[in-house]
């Protein structure tokens, strides 16, 4: 049994410690907002916060998580009221939406670290792939969430 703290709740899961955190979140804990996109930490669809830092959960063995606090998209806010989620709605960022949990989690972590990010900060932090191509609106929404002037 592995003990895991996800969105403020403690879970006991009976899995191989090598199992990627992504699949434990999706299949054992049942939170499917975190997505599988590549399995090799290349696309960012599986981004969650590990102790507040954006991490790609597809490449973290669940056995290595220990006491760290995991936050998924479902735990980012109670009612989609996080400034990033509100900005995402205002800018109509999502198209298909599949990568957006990861994009939002990456953006939220960026703003926590740098409340007033520059374009260069956004370029460096937001490396998640979106095949629908929503990047222009992702950038604008991050500026809005930060209270930056457009």
């Amino acid at each position: 049994m592995i003990k895991l703290s996800v969105n403020g709740k403690t879970h006991q899961v009976d899995v191989d410690p090598e199992t990627p955190l992504l699949w434990v979140i999706r299949e054992q804990i049942g939170l499917t907002g975190t997505k599988y996109g590549c399995g090799v930490a290349a696309c960012g669809s599986c981004t969650v916060h590990v102790d507040g830092v954006a991490q790609r959960s597809c490449s973290i063995p669940v056995g290595s998580v220990g006491q760290a606090k995991i936050t998924t998209i479902e735990g980012l806010s109670r009612d989609a009221s996080h400034p990033v989620q509100k900005a995402w709605l205002a800018h109509q960022v999502p198209q298909c939406g599949y990568c957006q949990s990861g994009q939002i989690m990456a953006a939220a972590a960026l703003l926590k670290e740098k409340p007033k990010p520059t374009d260069a900060d956004i370029d460096a932090a937001m490396t998640n792939i979106c095949r629908c191509g929503t990047y222009q609106r992702v950038r604008a929404a991050i500026h809005t969430a930060a209270g930056n002037k457009a």
């Binding site: 299949e27 109509q92 298909c96 490396t127 998640n128 792939i129 222009q136």
Partner: protein, 724 residues
């Protein structure tokens, strides 16, 4: 519209509760029926497109698939416009494919490709909304005992004008539902539109912000198992042997299932377990005839088409040979482009459950509900009425999910494990290596100029792989794939002023499967034609914009968008030092597009795309903000293809496995995209694809302006952009 009364409602509402009900009321577990809903809904179905609830919440039925292109909102806008309902109360639900089938396709075509979702259904969905409005108005008039002509509908309320009395749609729906659907249904004059043409927010964004939207890959069903699949790495190869014991010994693994000669799957409790076991299981493949094929061989083979005597002709006007013989200047250039995977973010997946009583149910992300339905039934050997299809929103489509290979496979597995829902998820590597790739083509262009720099002749010879030959050979016309000429056929081609013209295609099919990739052949053809037009302009000593204007005089709508793009971009006006412009235009999927790109190239050869200004005329613009979103997104897709994405063939198989080797554009690389929607009215053009075609040629033409280097083969990453 009279057949509406004959609809098989019982069957519909089984589906409405499971799928549509889920969409309307917030996703339930798909398949979990909502008791009691069916009765309520039946009584409030006003015509076939609209259900009105007591609180005025209005559910619009959608036959097409939402994959991010905003069609759910656009189609709902069309219905709501005629329905005169309160837009804030509009919701949407999918029509189930088996219900459409059982009702003689009352909801029409479900295929969502070719940018057709809106433009080919505008009439009947608007009539559906208008019919419902007429029925609601009639119900109010009857309740009041007044002539219907004295009543008017707006904002989900019917008003009796002389007395000022009002009744809400929610109150009228049950009575309206009992009325005959009117046969004569006039539509509003476009000048009276209030909802069509507005950049309204999408009605389905909230569930994409908090992880609550259930994609097919997220479906959870009692007793469900997960499957990971391996197909012959070399296209056309076959399974020879495998060591199932090795996989079965691993934790959580339940089954090793052979699907067919090319495909094997491991089924386990969890997907990661299934995938690990599949990777650990020794499989021997008979790689077949193409085991040694590689990209160089394929390129050489395609090249043989450039000068082949035999070619299918699209356009032939005048005498190009005579024009070349008499030319003051003859220009020739050869272009080429690569294979490309769609790489939707959600990998191919489908869940299927086969019950021993001979019924099958699937949960699927598909661009074509009817094709998925048919593929599932065929794979199971069942009639269509025994197969229930739950359509879920797609995590990207781009043409890939018009194919049903993954649907068939999930059914093939489920048939061998009756009673258990089986969720098949392709690994990213499987997805990358078993796509329906954008076809490889090359193109030789030859142009003739007279002494004044007028184009007197043009020959465009395309050589390469045909999508229709691979997917729909019956749709070839006398052996010709007419799609190969997208953008350069007589109907779409802008440069009608060229007196001697030949556009032809030498088919060169490889063993690599090809398919419809967002924008399809417009992508390559627009690069070839629009860059070569710039080459001709240069040879003629003319400005690329002025040169195009001279050739587009017979094509006012092509010309109009070109002028908008040029004006909005400030063509001819000074730019910051080192920044250069390129321009192009293309007409496809019923919409006119043009773009101006601004780029700079550093001394080290590093490209920066600063801005692309796009003008698009789709005739009528249903939702300008969604058009802008599609333009922005299509440019990212198209620029990935231009700059960095590429599938190569080594030892008969696709060499790239994941996003570490198949590069795609990320946020950092996206230029500022400025979209100008200029609807000229009178027609309905597509939106999902048309704009993609103008991104790459505008950038290539700007790169030439910046560097003097004419890049003719894609992707650009193989070229040194440093000034010579």
């Amino acid at each position: 519209m009279t057949h509406h009364r004959k609809l098989d409602r019982r069957q519909f509402f089984t589906s409405a509760a499971a799928v549509g009900g889920g969409l309307t009321l917030g996703w339930q577990i798909p398949g979990g029926a909502i008791p009691g809903l069916a009765q309520t809904v039946v009584a409030r179905e006003v015509g076939i497109w609209v259900v009105i609830h007591p609180d005025d919440v209005t559910t619009v039925r959608i036959a097409r698939s939402e994959m991010g292109q905003g069609t759910l909102t656009g189609l709902a806008q069309l219905v709501a416009e005629e329905l005169e309902c309160d837009w804030s109360k509009v919701r949407a639900e999918y029509v189930a494919p088996e219900v459409n089938h059982a009702n003689k396709r009352a909801w029409g075509d479900m295929s969502t490709g070719g940018s057709r979702g809106i433009r080919t259904s505008v009439d009947y969905v608007r009539k559906g909304g208008a019919a419902a409005r007429m029925m609601l108005t009639e119900a109010a008039a009857r309740q009041w005992g007044v002539p219907v002509g004295e009543c008017a509908a707006a904002n989900s309320v019917v008003t009796h004008r002389p007395s000022g009395r009002t009744l809400r749609y929610g109150h009228l729906a049950e009575a309206a539902a009992k009325l005959e659907v009117p046969k004569e249904v006039p539509l509003k004059d476009p000048k009276d539109w209030k909802i069509i043409g507005q950049g309204l927010k999408r009605i389905d964004t909230a569930e994409r912000l908090d992880g609550s939207l259930t994609f097919a890959i997220d479906v959870k069903l009692p007793g469900m198992l997960n499957a990971s699949i391996a197909q012959s790495p070399v296209f056309g190869g076959k399974l020879q042997s495998w060591d199932a014991a090795k996989a079965l010994a691993m934790k959580g693994v339940r089954h090793v299932v052979k699907l067919d000669d090319q495909t094997i799957a491991v089924v386990a409790d969890g997907w990661w377990q299934a995938n690990q076991a599949l990777k650990a299981m020794p499989i021997v493949w008979d790689e077949g005839a193409h085991a040694k094929a590689d990209s160089a061989q394929i390129a050489a083979f395609v090249k043989t088409g450039l000068d082949a005597a035999e070619a299918g002709v699209s356009q032939k006007k005048g005498d190009v040979a005579a024009a070349f013989a008499g030319a003051a200047k003859k220009i020739e250039a050869v272009y080429g482009s690569q294979f490309l995977n769609h790489a939707t973010m959600e990998p191919m997946n489908c869940t299927a459950r086969y019950d021993a009583d001979g019924k099958l149910e699937i949960w699927v992300p598909t661009q074509n509900g009817e094709a998925a339905h048919a593929a599932a039934a065929q794979a199971a050997g069942l009639s269509l009425d025994k197969v229930k299809v739950n359509k879920l929103h797609l995590g990207g489509g781009f043409g890939r999910r018009g194919q049903s290979d993954y649907v068939r496979q999930s059914v093939q597995i489920a048939m061998q494990i009756p009673g258990r829902p089986i969720k098949l998820i392709w690994s990213r590597e499987e997805d990358m290596q078993h796509g329906f790739y954008r076809p490889i083509t090359q193109c030789k262009l030859t142009g003739a100029l007279d002494a004044q720099g007028n184009v007197t002749g043009l020959h465009m010879r395309i050589a390469g792989q045909s999508i229709l030959a691979h997917l729909f050979p019956s749709r070839l016309t006398n052996g010709i794939d007419t799609l190969q000429f997208q953008g350069v056929n007589a109907e779409e081609f802008g440069y009608a002023g060229i007196p001697n013209l030949l556009v032809d295609h030498a088919m060169r099919n490889t063993h690599v499967p090809v398919g419809f990739w967002r924008g399809v052949n417009h992508n390559q053809n627009a690069v070839y034609m629009e860059c070569f037009i710039d080459e001709l302009a240069l040879a003629a000593g003319k400005d690329p914009l002025e040169f195009r204007r001279g050739l587009l005089t017979q094509r006012p709508k092509h010309l109009a968008v070109l002028n908008v793009a040029a004006e909005k971009a400030g063509w001819g006006k000074p730019l910051p030092a080192g920044v250069h412009r390129g321009i192009c235009q293309n007409y496809g999927f019923g919409s006119y597009c043009a773009a101006v790109a601004e780029v700079s190239v550093s001394a080290q050869g590093k490209l920066k795309i600063h801005r692309i200004v796009c003008a698009v005329d789709p005739g009528h613009a249903v939702n300008p903000d969604q058009i802008a979103a599609q333009t922005e997104g299509s440019f990212v897709y198209g620029l990935s293809a231009l700059l960095i994405s590429e599938n190569t063939v080594k030892n008969g198989r696709i060499a790239e496995g994941n996003f570490d080797s198949y590069e795609v554009m990320r946020l950092e690389g996206m230029p500022k995209v400025e979209t100008h929607v200029v609807p000229s009215g009178g027609f309905w053009g597509g939106i999902g694809e048309p704009t993609i075609a103008v991104a790459a040629p505008a950038v290539l033409n700007a790169i030439f302006a910046a560097t003097g280097k004419r890049i003719r083969t894609l992707p650009l990453k193989h070229h040194d952009l440093r000034r010579a």
